[in-house]
Amino acid sequence: MGTVVTVDVYTTDGQAGDEVSRQLASARALLQRADAVFSTWNPRSPISRLRRGEITVSQAPAEVGEVLELCATARELSGGWFDPWAMPGGVDPTGYVKGWAAQRALGAFRAGHISGAIVNAAGDIASFGGLGRDKPFSIGICDPFSPGRLAAVVCLSGAIATSGTYERGNHLIDPHSGRPKARAASASVTGPDLGLADALATAIAVAGPSSLALIEALDGYEALVITGDGYLRWTERFPFRAR
């Protein structure tokens, strides 16, 4: 996947413990597995072979079919604005896999001696719990016009994904034209699942603020869009941290 994932585990008793170490090892294994299966950079990975037509979905590892099904759901929920099948070079679920893998890795952790955990896949974050009881995590959103600053701070419950064009150049593809295009400087989506949040953030970064209605209609998901001219638009219950 070509990305770096950091995991923060917040323990309640100040002890790392064998249990937490085991959970970390299991999270790492899940991420490595996802990388091995879905890396489009590795020509021998199952996803690369699928893209070249050397194998079918049913011949690929089970995760491939599972992720493609989730991608199809995300495509539908996003009104077609997220579409791995419209990518140049054949089906490319990369835009979904990063969040999906981070969410899966988070599943390795269980409450108990842990008050919360954060899996941060290069700016897309899956989490549960918080700093302690009734102390949720606060997550900053990069200001797309000044990446060293924060445009907003959210009180996180679950996942947050942010898509934009600023640091990596214009890498978002409009599925309707197959060409690079973004109608927002940055789009962030919060919700229970990072895979879907990531896909939706990509979709509304491409589609622009008018697509916020799509998110408003989805239970549990909220969005914040920063427009090309610097305006902020958000869904009704977007979880800004209180002043």
Partner: protein, 175 residues
């Protein structure tokens, strides 16, 4: 339940085949640092000076105002030791290897910089040197003043930067 949570950071760098994985708890690493043994964890206290976002729709892209240069010191964490500097581990990112240097006075980060940077002479080096890294330094300083546990954004370099920074902070017994 103790008040100050201990943070355990693990890092996984995919693709390049380089895997850095740390399960060192802050408490364990404290003892290895001279003069730091008595330093309590910097608790993740609520910083009332860090304001939330402007709730008004519209306006310009100007970021929210907050107590920028002088973040509030968490109460009750004064120690007698002076300024300490620690280099984070060299971390692979998409365009090379970098490590972050952190200087701490008591429990406040006073300086963040790049300890080493090897981008293999790639053409991105100029961009990273001159654009991204100063921004990331600024971001880390701001994260401290805003009291947040992470930053969401579309970035490549920041992950490697944060990874090295976080490890350096852990070595200092800070979070």
């Amino acid at each position: 339940m103790k008040r100050a949570p201990i943070v355990i950071t693990a890092t996984v760098a995919g693709l390049a085949g380089v895997l850095a994985f740390h399960t060192t708890s802050s408490r364990l690493s404290l003892g290895t640092l001279p003069g730091a043994a008595a330093a309590p964890q910097a608790p993740a206290t609520t910083d009332p000076s860090a304001s939330g976002p402007g709730r008004s729709a519209g306006g310009s892209s100007s970021p929210p105002k907050r107590g920028s240069a002088a973040p509030t010191q968490p109460a009750g964490t004064r120690t007698v030791d002076g300024t300490r500097t620690v280099d984070g581990p060299a971390v692979n990112y998409n365009f090379g290897v970098l490590s972050v240097s952190v200087t701490v006075s008591r429990h406040k980060i006073t300086k963040i910089g790049i300890a080493s940077l090897d981008d293999g002479g790639m053409s991105r080096s100029q961009y990273i040197d001159q654009q991204a890294i100063p921004l990331l330094e600024q971001e880390a300083m701001q994260a401290q003043s805003a009291n947040i546990q992470g930053v969401s954004g579309a970035s490549y370099t920041s992950a490697g930067f944060q990874q090295s920074l976080q490890a350096a902070l852990h070595t200092l017994g800070l979070r």
